[in-house]
Symmetry: C2
Subunit: 245 residues, 2 copies
């Protein structure tokens, strides 16, 4: 029986999503708990393989669980076994054709910036990139250049083979965070390349700091050259917010 499991986690103390020998990973922790309950190895497939330090509020995975375990109260059973920095927020039985990654129609990532000039609260440090003040008008104008269906090769880090580097970036929206002087940038797209959001944020922050003009940002996008774009923004600000099917 196929299940869709929705997960929240604080990425700070995980070596990212994907199982790696000798490392504490989100996938590893989830598979370990599922395998223990099922008394057989269980593998899960995620909508997005988040990097070390990246958080999630709405990560989605699918997995096939044995029919003889159909009566297990999965959410409660998993949450009683999982480490404190990850939680199952929902479990539902789905059609056998459901695939967490390839069935996804759209994904949203948020990236939170702390604009305070003087300090960042320790309570917020693991969840933000502390940039200090930024020109938000310039950033919004820059975001307009980046949205649309285009080749995001300049904003992709190498490491994961992909068939195409074209993605449809539906929208970049900006909102005040729930904590003082935080700016939350939300990215909706049909899919994201490796570290694409962090690379786009690095570009937008450079624009917001006045170090990069809108014209230069457009030139970077059109160059299809990763070397032309600013260095990847920190993992801490990033959160996989939602996956739509």
């Amino acid at each position: 029986m196929r299940y869709k499991i929705t997960l929240a986690y604080t990425g700070t103390h995980f070596s990212g999503w994907q199982v790696q020998p000798g490392q504490r990973t989100v996938q590893g922790s989830l598979e370990e708990s599922l395998s223990r309950i099922c008394a057989q190895p269980v593998r899960v497939q995620a909508a997005g393989r988040t990097d070390a330090g990246v958080h999630a509020l709405g990560q989605v995975v699918h997995c096939d669980l044995p029919k003889k375990r159909a009566a297990v109260p999965w959410q409660r059973a998993l949450n009683s076994m999982l480490p404190a920095d990850m939680t199952v927020t929902g479990v539902e039985a789905v059609d056998q054709k459901f695939h967490a990654r390839s069935s996804a129609l759209a994904k949203a990532y948020t990236y939170t910036l702390c604009l305070r000039p003087d300090f960042v609260l320790p309570q917020r440090r693991p969840f933000v990139w502390w940039t200090g003040p930024l020109d938000q008008d310039k950033m919004m104008a820059g975001a307009g250049i980046l949205t649309g269906k285009t080749d995001f090769c300049s904003f992709m880090n190498v490491g994961t083979p992909v068939r195409s580097t074209v993605r449809d970036l539906f929208a970049i929206s900006f909102a005040r965070g729930i904590f003082a002087e935080e700016l939350v940038c939300t990215f909706w797209a049909d899919g994201f390349l490796k570290q694409m959001v962090r690379n786009l944020v690095a570009g937008l922050v450079a624009v917001g700091r006045g170090r990069l003009s809108r014209k230069e940002l457009l030139e970077i996008l059109e160059s299809r050259d990763r070397g032309a774009a600013p260095a990847t923004a920190p993992a801490s600000g990033l959160c996989l917010q939602e996956v739509r099917y």
Copy 2:
């Protein structure tokens, strides 16, 4: 020269405020940084000695720093040395008579409860007590019994000698937290006994769960017997919010 330093910290990985041999404490970390900058031992005095796991957004300390260091940009210098889970949010020179604890007119602690029935987000777990649903009307009525100038002996844990166990609890207010299904209880008083807020919260939560009536809560208060009151609430929900002078 006397200074007033305001501090924020995440208490999760500290063994509380007070210096203890071989333990990682907030006071110890602050004194170490100050002593290093001053090249001489510096001691600080806090408004409230928070326990292990208790957070602060507005802890206040005073200390005397050598005149020859008057040009040091204290906030920046300290924040460059302090660990990531504590931050100096303000520094000001004050009168020699200023005393962080005894000059305080009022202090506010917040205690955050997570009312979700199904799960607590890992991002929020270090900052809340996950109680599940509570009857907030009953809790507000209970809070009315606890406020006022009275002997809070029933809600004090032993360990710190005090002259009097009478405190003036100005107000207990309830507000929705910034995260979904969180209830923030704010306690304003002229001072607090050891673990008083956590013991009051334990009483209010018992009322909110229907395990304790308002009448029984009043009896506990009047009994002046610590043994009569519910066990202390977890440290994680507590935060030293503000100290007024």
